[in-house]
Symmetry: C2
Subunit: 443 residues, 2 copies
């Protein structure tokens, strides 16, 4: 439904942190944007099972609508904002809304990563559209960059810090020397990590966002279940310190790289040069580096979560629906994964990168030679070795040998580390962290 | 003219660096963006007086069209790209194109800063539109952020590094300790500064971009002639070093701050904390920090000049014209300065900031007290003082006293410095550089 009326009626479903702030931006704060907005957005319904938060915010109780059906039956409603989260009820709500001829705005990355193409196809059949700027990097208009500002580019690579909780924890570990457990506890106390932080720290949330970003940037449908994910929950402070000594900062990166005819997708903690702009992104901030064949490196930075930044993205999508631009883009661009072919997702063994390795081994003569020999046999060339003197009186303990490699295939590295770990002189599983280099600009 | 045809015919006027790369993106490299683009863009005419560069690029000679009128008479042409530069011929070309019913894309910041409202009004009368993403920050889609992604926000402040030449020179001065003259010479040798660098180093180019950005962000018409501008050409390496010692980096900033009911606009070299993201922006890169009332701080980073990044922005605008989204935004949004009231531009004396001062004075007892007394009388509170021991054997020379102030009104600072400079113990005009603090996020 192409909306170009001067007023768009809106129903918000789910009035939590983001829903509440969206409601405020549409009502009490509607004057903030002033006349810049153009078409008016009018909040007509707030649908939830519990209005405690909505009342705390002082929203007009006349907006509270107990039944979704009631909101959908309102012909003045042109757009439904789904802010329930999760992949079950939220999916049903969106399907209902689309079938009722309403455009949908959502911040639900998990749902879109798993069921995006199916929902987009439904929107297409019902002549509506789905807008989801709020699903990635909160208030940062990164989807608009990919689908509009950078449209002339072949996108070659994306490196994103897209989970504020993880970045907050890693910043605390790096700058304050806290262990992962301590940093997580502080993040939880500060309200920056959930009581159950699994979705964030295991990297799953970042992978959801990567799946959405990569599909739009590379114009291919992403199979979320085939995105390899490593979280930050097993990171050891020692490795962060070793990395710093070598000039690197650790970040949880969502990575998408065009490699030949394929697409390499992964989420993992990675070292990045202290000189790279992403290294500066600290605390709860997000940033996404995009390498286009014409623009070279561009980066988008801001608060990736929180009620107000996310609500800002939701309202921008509503404005685009009211203007009709969201529908045009949804109808005409070749980026939406219900209409694109499956991306050629490469196995992780095809990843090519530099690597940081920490081998815990006996302090015996010849150990390094044995490790180097194994690496060499697997076509892995050593770039640097860092081995500190053992602590006096602790000569019997395992000694960390830190090795950085030149570019190598991850499959070769895995095979080599299997052999290294099996050596009798190696006392623990070798730590392996990719080192991300500045992507070469194809200018 | 609302374009929604599946093909948009394009005429490029001016085939220099940007024009040539735009032509390449539309022809030989059209496949790079693949099917993401949606509607097709077809280059129909390249209009110039000299086709040497066009031939070097291997453009199809059948495209070369000697007369603008010929291109405008071609009904298949829906958009004209003006890449001549300057404010005379370029203006006439754009007016011709608009009157012929063609949409216009331009990168011409000088023209838009001076004559934007007049041209937008003409476009409105002829039912066309003007798109100018390429006029600010090259390949960085900053106008789209302001007019689309951040539309729900009251924009409170903008700090932009929008001139790559200046940033390259300042980076060289900061990192390599080069003088301004030496750094400029290197920039010229590297092709990063014009033989006549006046427009860049005097800050005029940055001011053009600021006028465009501020008008869209704050929804008010900007009188370019009332934007105070200071360039980088009189910067002294000593001040950069003193600033570094205090934890600051110098940047040429384009600043727009909402202050009460007014708007404070200025371009000037300013110190910024080494912890601020803009401090990391080095070499020829640009970045714009935008503070929205809902998003807080967001930043947009990338190459602000050069043929390919700028051409990327031009083609994005052409795609938006082909989609019809550019016309919708031009018709409906309340940001275009032909339809907004004049901005309430505050005089520079109303600027409120911290300041860095370097007073060159005799090394006599009581001098600092006299300076401090003057500052105090003008309501300027001192934050720190830095005075090095005089060099042995050079006690008679003037001694630099470096003072940083707390927040003060620039009018008061000017008045105070008038008195300071008139002191018999002060030997040279006092250097005064604003210190930009992190804008407080209104979250």
């Amino acid at each position: 439904m192409t909306q170009r009326a001067s007023t768009l009626g809106v129903a918000i479903v789910g009035c939590g942190t983001v829903g509440g702030q969206t409601a405020l931006l549409l009502t009490r704060e509607a004057e903030a944007a002033g006349s810049r907005m153009g078409p008016r957005l009018e909040l007509r319904h707030v649908v939830d099972v519990d209005y405690t938060h909505a009342r705390e915010l002082g929203l007009d109780e006349a907006l509270f609508t107990a039944e979704l059906e009631q909101a959908l039956a309102d012909e003045s409603v042109g757009a439904v904002v789904e802010l329930i989260g999760g992949t079950t009820v939220a999916k049903a709500v969106i399907e209902h809304a689309l079938r009722a001829g309403k455009c949908v705005v959502t911040a639900n990355k998990a749902l879109l990563a798993h069921h995006g193409p199916e929902l987009y196809a439904l929107a297409r059949r019902t002549g509506t559209c789905i807008a989801f700027e709020a699903s990635c990097a909160g208030g940062v208009p990164i989807l608009r960059a990919l689908c509009d500002g950078l449209l002339a580019n072949r996108i070659d690579a994306i490196y994103g810090i897209v989970n504020g909780t993880c970045n907050y924890i890693l910043t605390a570990m790096t700058r304050r020397g806290q262990t992962y457990a301590d940093a997580l506890a502080v993040a939880q106390a500060d309200g920056l990590a959930e009581a159950d932080p699994a979705l964030d720290v295991a990297g799953t949330d970042s992978a959801h966002k990567l799946a959405i970003l990569a599909a739009l940037a590379f114009g291919g449908r992403v199979d979320f279940d085939r995105v390899p994910v490593t979280g930050i929950d097993s990171l050891d402070l020692r490795d962060l310190r070793n990395g710093q000594e070598l000039g690197y900062v650790i970040k949880l990166l969502a990575i998408a790289i065009r490699q030949g005819e394929g697409l390499l997708l992964r989420v993992c903690p990675a070292f990045i040069s202290q000189a790279h702009p992403l290294a500066w992104v600290s605390g709860p901030f997000n940033a996404v580096s995009v390498y286009g064949h014409a623009t070279g490196h561009t980066m988008y930075y801001g608060r990736g979560a929180g009620g107000r930044p996310t609500a800002s993205a939701v309202v921008a999508d509503l404005a685009a629906i009211a203007l009709g631009t969201a529908q045009r883009q949804f109808d005409e661009l070749g980026v939406w994964p219900d209409r694109t072919a499956p991306a050629n997702q490469l196995p992780l063994s095809d990843a090519e990168s530099r690597y940081y390795l920490r081998v815990m081994c006996d302090d015996h003569p010849g150990v390094l030679a044995r490790i180097a020999t194994i690496l060499g046999r697997h076509d892995i060339s050593i770039s640097s070795v860092l081995q500190h003197e053992p602590m006096p009186g602790r000569e019997a303990d395992a000694v960390p040998v830190v090795i950085t490699t030149h570019r190598a295939m991850e499959g070769n590295v895995s095979a080599a580390l299997g052999e290294v770990n099996a050596l009798d002189v190696v006392q623990a599983e070798t730590v392996c962290i990719p080192i991300v280099e500045e992507y070469p600009e194809d200018m």
